[in-house]
């Protein structure tokens, strides 16, 4: 169980957080103009990388804020944590 540095609260146990999957998948602004395939790409397709992955996390049992996190899924090393709307760091 890892320790996550919530950008609003500081270090807390993983059990306080929930993971919201891959980050930086922006909801299309004009969904009606997309083909089935394009919409399916947004809706279903996720990378699920073994290695460095950009993820959304929510401090569900804390400040309830969503934020982004860069985690190596092969060893759970957390490389960075940053707020929604902030530019992703270069890893």
């Amino acid at each position: 169980m890892f320790v996550i540095n919530c950008p609003y609260c500081g270090e807390r146990d993983q059990s306080e957080f929930s993971c919201g999957g891959e980050a930086h998948i922006v909801r299309p602004k004009q969904p009606t103009e997309l083909s089935d395939d394009e919409w399916a790409e947004y809706l279903f397709m996720r990378k699920n990388i073994k290695g460095v992955q950009f993820e959304r996390w929510n401090h569900a049992h804390g400040c309830r804020k969503w934020f982004n996190m860069v985690r190596d899924t092969s060893n759970d090393k957390i490389h960075a944590v940053y707020k929604m709307g902030e530019k992703p760091p270069v890893i």
Binding site: M1, F2, V3, D13, G20, V26, R27, Q30, P31, T32, L34, D36, W39, A40, L43, R56, N58, A60, R64, K65, W66, N75, D76, M84, G85
Partner: protein
């Protein structure tokens, strides 16, 4: 003293006798004994039968690696526990232990027949034999396997013990209280670091605490004496917490560790006093030092499993720690020097001992000592067979060929009553690998050692592959100093000397004259897998160690292969002709030793299992005989039986009264979300399928919420309280998830919206009054209010005051009846409710529960999200096209509603079902078919809600059926176990299609 208790030690109080029973026979031991040492002191070796062949088995070790000696304790009591390792049970007065896996008893076991037919039970036997014919599985194979499988008996009563969980944080956690752990803990604690030292034994000191051999000297003292002083100094250190009887269960990432502390397992039943039995520590440590030690390896030769064959260092511990000799006529069979310590110890106590060594020579100090003492040593020799059924009686030995691959010369028979074996040592790398660490293979002594990459944990002592006292002390000191950034330690200048092993030799499977197929060379003693089984698996084409392990079940017993894994790997490598280091190892998974379920769940049992939520009206429901059902964490009234009514009768009465006169429902559990902000209307437009911009202040609207995939997610009525202020209701079970989902969109996708969400579910209590007389009841409650349809129309809300308390009245309907909902601050919920009941008395108002609510909704074809939907239903599938706005540019899930999959016409769609026999009630969940004869029968749907409607006097059901929209009037079948029920597809609105009752 018994015949075998030949030595007095400081660890056993021989003035305090403890009596216990094993298989109902009474024995005596002393305070400080384990069950194993006490049994051995009584000459008992045979303690169990093996799993597959039911071969007699004895105590083989002195610790958690024990594969054979497991027992059931306190059988036939609430406290009974199976599969407890005899070597780890601290003896207490009145302990009752019994052997497992034997019938009718340990000495005569019917299952022993498996041993005779063992040529027919090869590796993968179960997989191969019970495959065919299929019909035999349920009636013949499974009962047979169940009868003979399993170890011990599960308790039949709830566990009366209390278990606890506790969080702990520290700078340094040291795992293992042997010499390297003690050195580490002292260095850390003396440098002002908050340190915790845990050890699974009662007494610290590991194997050094009974190392009284004169070759092992620290600062001019025997190593055990030196360590004894160190331990008493440790106890005086302020920032060191020592936890004995505490074993590490798991080492997770980020230095999060679980350790189980035994608090009362060593106490007699009558002294436990209802206290805590075990505590699970959840430790977050800044730094972790693993000093877990090493396990002695057995040797693999024919019939190496008889009672009386014990690991050599365990024989030494029984002798020098417990004062018990495992035999009076000992043979030691070894490939290394450490077993000579056992030999010398035995000899010095006047016990007969001989040594068989597979090496050609050894020139170390300890071997010289043995030779000087006159102990007979057979060099370059191996054991080829053993004899004695319930206890070893003799062995046969032969010489090894030059390269060790064969035996030569004549067999030589030697009598004995105990055979100590030692195949070298295996570092306990389990903790290291659990934390994610990798291993390196060290060729010289054939061991896997930690490959250290982490900055936050290290391994010291023999678990790191340091086996000799001098390197243990020096390396531990240096490594810990570096790890903790410390310049000097009290151990920098101590002098250490020890016997050093110079000659090493290892043979994973010792050679024999008999062909392999006819030998029983056990590798995994608990699961009865042999060298032959592993070779067979390789011949059958298994290559990966993980596959061989599962096929042969090697390493898969309760001991997780602590003694067997290395030999399995070694034999695979030898047979396949590859280097052992290239094979990798199997994965070591937590827990290191089995955990009780009690320790895992801790206090979260009974009423603490989950949070229980009650409405402010709950006590009234209880007093009025409500039966409750769980909806999420909520307790909701299910129905209110009068006299001896059953569920059906009560629901029929409640439903009839609600439609004929008046009914009242506690709707407080519905989720309530307060929505405010200048973009609140726009926000609702985006989250619901219908349009919200034009909803007037004071008006209410039903909304349907989808997932982005277009499937129905939740529903409820939202009220516009003010220009920028709404109150949303959600389903009871969906409240928390809906709030999270909405917050997610606001924080991530729609950060530009000015909207604030607050959960107010618990802030308000809700009484929902329905029925043709509801208006009259409201009028009585609020005499000054105009309830005419013009002044207070359907789907609108007004503020009101009752008993000087402000409340909100919404004219909205759950049931299709004329209805009002009154929301009031929770603390006034009960009084509001009682007022409603009083005002409704003259109309025979009936409180009704969730069952009646569902029935009333089903009559009207109102869906229940989660009952009539299951995450695969679009609003179109539900025939709710009317609620999906065509004009809105976008809302959550809109685009998915015309994906190729969601527009298919043969999707499951909501329909009504009427049974041909109006008294026949369908079962919810029952499958629906259109043809009965054609096989395989094609399932085309299932029943989602089904009731007998008292208002229509017939059975009604909602169902989802493939292409159901176009099937109205069609005959279908609901096949049940004993009959087929004929049904007709109907409209799903069964009652008041014209919605007249809502304004009645």
């Amino acid at each position: 003293m018994t015949k075998y208790r030949i030595n007095k030690t400081r660890f056993i109080d021989q003035t305090k006798t403890v009596s216990f029973t094993f298989d109902s026979k009474e024995y005596h031991g002393f305070e400080g004994d384990t069950l194993a040492s006490a049994l051995l002191s009584n000459g008992i070796h045979l303690v169990g039968r093996s799993f597959k062949y039911h071969r007699p088995r004895g105590i083989m070790s002195c610790g958690s690696e024990e594969p054979n000696a497991i027992c059931q304790i306190n059988d036939n009591t609430d406290f009974t526990e199976p599969n407890v390792r005899i070597t780890e049970i601290e003896l207490y007065e009145g302990l009752k232990a019994s052997s497992q896996n034997c019938w009718p008893n340990l000495n005569f076991d019917i299952g022993g027949i498996n041993n005779l037919i063992s040529p027919f039970i090869p590796a993968g036997f179960y997989y191969k034999t019970f495959m065919w014919p299929k019909s035999f599985w349920k009636k013949i194979y499974e009962p047979l396997i169940r009868l003979s499988a399993g170890l011990g008996k599960s308790p039949t009563q709830p566990d009366p013990d209390i278990y606890d969980h506790k969080h702990e944080h520290c700078d340094v956690l040291v795992i293992g209280g042997g010499i390297s752990g003690i050195i580490s803990a002292k260095i850390a604690a003396k440098n002002n670091l908050k340190t915790i030292l845990i050890d699974d034994k009662k007494i610290l000191g590991g194997s050094t605490i009974y190392q009284n051999n004169k070759n092992f000297i620290i600062d001019n003292q025997k190593s055990n004496e030196w360590l004894m002083n160190e331990i008493s100094e440790l106890e005086r250190l302020d920032n060191l917490i020592i936890k004995t009887r505490t074993s590490l269960a798991a080492f997770h990432s980020y230095n999060y560790l679980l350790a189980k502390e035994n608090i009362s397992d060593h106490l007699p039943l009558d002294k436990k006093n209802g206290g805590i039995r075990q505590r699970l520590w959840k430790i977050r440590a800044d730094k972790v030092i693993v000093a877990a030690g090493a396990i002695e390896r057995p040797l693999i030769f024919n019939n190496n499993d008889r009672p009386g064959i014990i690991l050599a260092n365990s024989v030494k511990k029984y002798l020098d720690f417990y004062g018990v000799s495992s035999g009076l006529n000992n043979i030691i069979f070894t490939n290394n020097d450490s077993a000579y310590e056992t030999a010398v110890s035995l000899f010095e106590k006047g016990i007969s001992v001989k040594i068989i060594d597979i090496r050609k020579k050894s020139s170390s100090n300890i071997v010289k000592d043995a030779e000087d003492l006159g102990i007979e040593i057979y060099w370059n020799s191996t054991v080829v067979n053993t004899f004695g059924y319930k206890k070893i009686k003799s062995i046969e030995i032969m010489n090894l060929s030059e390269d060790g691959s064969n035996v030569t010369g004549n067999k030589h028979k030697i009598q004995c009553d105990c055979l100590s074996i030692s195949g070298g040592w295996t570092p306990m790398v389990h903790m290291h690998t659990q934390s994610g660490g990798k291993l390196d293979f060290r060729e010289i002594d054939q061991v896997f050692v930690p490959s250290e990459k982490s900055e936050n944990h290290i391994n010291v002592g023999s678990c790191n592959g340091d086996f000799e006292l001098e390197e243990i002390v020096k390396n531990t000191n240096n490594k810990v100093k570096k790890f903790l950034n410390i310049n000097e330690s009290v151990f920098d200048k101590i002098s250490v000397s020890c016997s050093k092993e110079l000659e090493k030799k290892n043979i994973w499977l010792l050679p024999n004259t008999i062909s392999e197929g006819k030998t029983k060379s056990f590798i995994d003693f608990q699961n009865d897998s042999t060298a032959k089984d592993i070779k067979l698996a390789l011949r059958e084409g298994f290559k990966s160690i993980e596959h061989v392990k599962r096929y042969t079940t090697t390493g898969m017993a309760t001991d997780q292969g602590k003694l067997s894994n290395m030999h399995a790997l070694g034999i695979i490598a030898d047979t396949a002709g590859v280097k052992m280091g290239t094979l990798g190892t199997t994965t070591f998974r937590p827990p290191f030793t089995p955990l009780t379920f009690g320790a895992i769940v801790g206090r979260s049992v009974g009423k603490f299992f989950d949070v229980l939520r009650k409405t402010s009206i709950h006590e009234w429901h209880v007093q009025n005989n409500a039966k409750f059902e769980n909806v999420g964490q909520w307790k909701r009234p299910w129905y209110y039986p009068i006299n001896n009514e059953n569920l059906h009768d009560a629901v029929q009465r409640e439903s009839k009264t609600a439609r004929d006169s008046a009914g009242i429902l506690d709707a407080s559990t519905l989720g309530k979300i307060d929505i405010q902000g200048s973009d609140a209307s726009e926000f609702l437009n985006r989250v619901y399928t219908n349009a919200w911009s034009k909803l007037g202040i004071g008006k209410c609207r039903y909304g349907l919420m989808l997932n982005e995939d277009g499937m129905v997610y939740d529903d409820g009525v939202t009220t516009r309280l003010d220009e920028n202020h709404y109150l949303m209701t959600t389903t009871t079970g969906g409240a928390a998830n809906v709030l999270s989902k909405l917050e997610d969109y606001l924080q991530t996708e729609w950060r530009e919206l000015d909207v604030y969400l607050t959960s107010v579910t618990d802030h308000y209590s809700t009484a929902s009054i329905c029925g043709p007389n509801s208006k009259k009841i409201l009028k009585k409650l609020f005499p000054n209010k105009d309830f005419s349809d013009e002044a207070f129309p359907h789907m609108s809300y007004q503020d009101a005051i009752i008993d000087k308390i402000e409340c909100r009245i919404m004219r909205i309907s759950f049931t299709g009846e004329l209805s009002y909902e009154i929301n009031i601050e929770s603390k006034y919920g009960r009084s509001l409710w009682e007022n409603c009941i009083k005002a409704g008395e003259e109309y025979k108002i009936t409180p009704y529960g969730t069952e009646t609510m569902h029935l009333l909704r089903a009559e009207k074809g109102f869906i229940i999200v989660g009952q009539d939907t299951d995450g695969t239903m679009t609003p179109i599938d539900l025939q709710m096209d009317w609620i999906v706005s065509k004009k809105k540019y976008d809302f959550i899930g809109k685009r998915s509603l015309y994906r190729s999959d969601t527009i298919k016409e043969d999707r499951k769609q909501l329909v009504g079902l009427l049974t041909d026999d109006p008294n026949e009630i369908l079962e919810e969940g029952a499958q629906i078919v259109s043809e009965l004869d054609k096989k395989p029968v094609k399932m085309i749907g299932h029943v989602t809600s089904s009731y007998f409607s008292p208002n229509l006097n017939k059975s009604i059901a909602l169902a989802v059926v493939k292409g159901g929209k176009k099937m109205k009037g069609q005959k279908l079948f609901v096949p049940m176990e004993n009959k087929n029920i004929n049904v007709t597809v109907s409209d799903f609105i069964f009652l008041d299609k014209e919605n007249k009752r809502i304004n009645a």
